[in-house]
Amino acid sequence: MTVGESKTRRSFEPEELLSRCVGNLDFAQHLLNLFTARFVNDLDQLEQHLQLGDADGLMRVAHTMKGASANIAAPGLQEQAGRIEELARDHRLDQISTRLALLRDEWARFSEALAATGLPCEET
């Protein structure tokens, strides 16, 4: 499994994920399926919480996305979700909209990187 240019590598580190799955490709695939299904849903949740001005909801969902991204070896998503979590914790909701756009961009990059590994997921 190889990943393209450095920008893409940063979005997804499949070797790291496989290492955590002790080389079990099927299990890694299963986790990716779980992750992508949940992440798409969480992106929508973030939008809804932002519209409602619900800082706690934003913080909670962003925290979960950050943790899940770390587990799946997606450092770019982890970083962007972490920034939203921090902003929500500080009640700086006015800056979250921009961050949310960056998170969506990173999600697109992650999806590309994932497709390049030959491990496309059901939901991507």
Partner: protein
């Protein structure tokens, strides 16, 4: 072992569930602290692995509630943290967490942390079991209250001395001495099977009564052997069984219940034999006054090579002063005082 995993992230949940099951653990999943607490009240989980931040009830709050609730058995809690959350560990420890696992984790680290948790909860079970059995033994022991305490101290001294000799250095290490210390109070556990009329008889036992009294060694040995068969890896049960079964054997083969001789007698049994007799000699019994250390020593030396293993007697002589210290610090009353108490008829026990 049953493990409760509390995590709201499905990816992390799946990883924990998969790797813990692969390692042979019985895993139950909860999505938040509240659900976990309900499961804890109804189940018998010994280890909880919980995420820190969750909806409904956080891992920290779950941890606090577990500690406040004081379950019948200790619940070992591992909190999941993210790398930047390591500074919160003090808060986690204050809430009662036992360990932390940083996300994302490697399966090896998960196994190591859970393995440590398993060792600790088993240790607690072991100590509780030994303590409970020792209390049971004590309740059926007509001798003085501190008998078991002195016994285990004498055993520890003898074990410690033997560990320094070339002959026993390879067999008697710190772990052996520690386990000997913990399990020696179980030497008379078989007395639970001896009728009160015989066990508590204030006078000399008739020959047939003495035969029944002697059965306590085999009763204790067989009882602990049954427990050992069910848990063959529990070395402390093996030692406890050996002690209960063999502490009345004699080095010359004339003891009971099996008439074992010399090295056929388990080492722990040979050690406890000396400790038990020394304590019987130096404390008052219904049939005799408390003998002085010198008198007890003379009687024990007289049994060297016949009643007792000569190596254990050498260890006793080398640590004579320690025996005296224990005898004096854990005695109920001065020898003279006890010697002045009118004696009943001689009994066996």
């Amino acid at each position: 072992m049953k493990i409760l995993v509390v995590e709201d992230d499905p990816v992390c949940t799946e990883m924990l569930d998969y790797f813990l099951r692969q390692s042979g653990y019985d895993v139950t999943l909860a999505a938040n602290g509240r659900e976990a607490f309900d499961l804890l009240r109804d189940g018998d989980f010994r280890v909880v692995i919980s995420d820190w931040e969750m909806p409904e009830m956080s891992g920290l709050e779950l941890c606090r509630r577990i500690r406040n609730r004081q379950f019948s058995e200790y619940v070992y809690v591992i909190l999941l943290t993210c790398r930047e959350g390591r500074g919160d560990m003090v808060a986690g420890l204050n809430a009662g967490a036992d360990d932390f696992l940083t996300k994302p984790f490697q399966p090896d680290e998960l196994n190591l942390r859970v393995g440590a948790a398993e060792r600790i909860v088993k240790l607690e079970s072991r100590d509780l079991l030994i303590f409970s059995l020792a209390k049971l033994a004590e309740s059926r022991d007509p001798e003085t209250g501190a008998h078991l305490e002195r016994m285990r101290e004498y055993c520890r001294i003898l074990g410690d001395q033997l560990s320094k000799t070339p002959e026993f250095r390879d067999r008697v290490d710190a772990d052996f001495v520690r386990t000997l210390y913990q399990t020696s109070p179980l030497h008379d556990i078989g007395k639970v099977g001896v009728p009160d009329a015989i066990l508590l008889k204030p006078g000399r036992l008739a020959p047939e009564e003495f035969e029944i009294m002697k059965q306590h060694a085999a009763i204790g040995g067989r009882t602990l052997d049954a427990a050992l068969q069910a848990h063959p890896r529990a070395e402390y049960l093996r030692l406890a069984r050996d002690i209960a079964w063999s502490h009345h054997e004699r080095y010359d083969g004339k003891g009971y219940p099996r008439g074992l001789a010399g090295d056929e007698i388990p080492l722990a049994g040979r050690i406890v034999a000396v400790a038990d007799v020394y304590d019987a000699l130096t404390t008052r019994r219904v049939y005799k006054p408390a003998f002085s250390h010198e008198k007890a020593k003379a009687i024990i030396l007289d049994g060297r090579g016949t009643q007792f293993d000569p190596s254990i007697i050498d260890a006793f002589l080398a640590r004579e002063d320690d025996f005296i210290t224990v005898k004096e610090s854990l005695s109920e009353a001065p020898d003279e005082e006890m010697a002045a108490i009118p004696l009943g008829p001689v009994s066996a026990g």
